[in-house]
């Protein structure tokens, strides 16, 4: 249950980008989340939506792109999706597997209402 503190730090980033770039309201943030990050996406979205009212003063929502847990085999160099946390190479069965993706937590972009379209 550390999704609330992560949602809060994402919102702090959103506010700082908003000030830096002098943006209008931000109804959406795009986030990349690894499936091995230990962060539960539905809870993160709910926490973000709830905290946006408090921090931004209006509703904002989070779009999440899930990044699969992928490994690279140290023996045959094959790259593959790690299914069910089985950390061995499907090609040569070696268990010398390095994680290459799946731990991401990255703010990709914010969507803002264009200044011109605002009254």
């Amino acid at each position: 249950m550390h999704e609330y503190s992560i949602a809060r730090s994402i919102l702090e980033s959103v506010v700082s980008v908003q000030h830096q770039e002098q943006l209008g309201s931000i109804p959406q943030v795009d986030v990349e989340l690894g499936e091995f990050s230990g962060v539960e996406p539905v809870q993160l979205q709910a926490a973000y939506a709830a905290l946006s009212l408090e921090i931004l003063g209006y509703p904002s929502e989070m779009q999440i792109q899930i990044v699969r847990l992928r490994g690279r085999c140290g023996r045959c160099q094959d790259e593959f999706v790690i299914e069910n946390f089985q950390f061995h190479c499907p090609a040569c069965s070696s268990n010398d597997v390095q994680i290459v993706s799946g731990d991401e937590l990255r703010i990709l972009a914010v969507s803002t209402l264009s200044q011109e379209s605002e009254p």
Binding site: H2, S13, E21, Q86, F87, N95, L105, R106
Partner: protein, 229 residues
């Protein structure tokens, strides 16, 4: 009309970088930091008590002990070790800021080993690098030998697995070989350390393991730091 403004801010990389800075500080001071994670009641505090009882110079050990509430663990450890209680007030894991604050409040004169006893929880602590040099997951025989595969991140991110309470093996259906095989299916390099804090069996091997790891890891890290531009 919506305009998309790219941000590209990698929060994981920022967290890793902050933990690496703290790890370098520990390395520079010769303090080897061990993050102990487990489910509640697996025996982290008892392991530390047993360690301090046999350690030739217990004043070289220090502990930051995390709990949601109470300072019971700090009270248990205080007769043996330099200890500071970290109370999270509800949070299910320790984070780097809390550990850094506790570290600043500890008396670290001559300390060579800093144990961080995490909140009892096999889920969230696995996702938080506290700047430790070594992560140890403690699994007690009463929990069952099928746990490693059920909590893959806790075991994948640990370098050693202590099997605790082995004095209870005659009374519970726990197979050490099965637990080891399950742990190594997610972490092939896992060092398995079966022991009992009650009888003291396996504690000497655990202490030897800590001494070897401190020597190896700190040497590697000092070389890394000195090679940085």
């Amino acid at each position: 009309m919506n305009t998309v403004v790219p941000v590209n801010r990698d929060l994981q990389a920022e967290r890793r970088a902050a933990a690496a800075v703290f790890r370098s500080e520990l390395t520079r001071r010769g303090i080897f930091c061990v993050n102990l994670i487990s489910s509640p009641g697996a025996g982290k505090t008892s392991l530390l008590q047993a360690t301090a009882r046999v350690w030739p110079e217990p004043e070289k050990l220090a502990v930051l002990v995390g709990d949601i509430a109470t300072d019971r663990d700090a009270e248990r450890l205080a007769p043996f070790l330099s200890v500071r209680q970290l109370t999270t007030g509800g949070a299910c894991h320790l984070d780097l800021k809390l550990v850094e604050r506790g570290f600043a409040a500890l008396n670290l004169d001559g300390v060579e080993y800093l144990f961080v006893e995490n909140i009892g929880n096999l889920v969230c602590p696995a996702s938080h690098d506290l700047g430790e040099h070594l992560r140890v997951v403690v699994l007690s025989v009463t929990e069952g030998d099928d746990k490693p595969g059920k909590y893959p991140k806790a075991f994948r991110t640990s370098q050693a697995c202590v099997i605790s309470k082995i004095d209870l093996l005659p009374y519970v259906p726990f197979d050490i070989q099965a637990a080891a095989a399950d742990a190594r299916s997610v972490q092939p390099e896992m060092t398995m350390l079966p022991l009992s804090a009650t009888t003291g069996g396996g504690i000497a091997e655990w202490c030897d393991y800590l001494r070897r790891q401190r020597a190896t890891v700190l040497t590697e890290q000092i070389l890394d730091i000195s090679q940085q531009p």
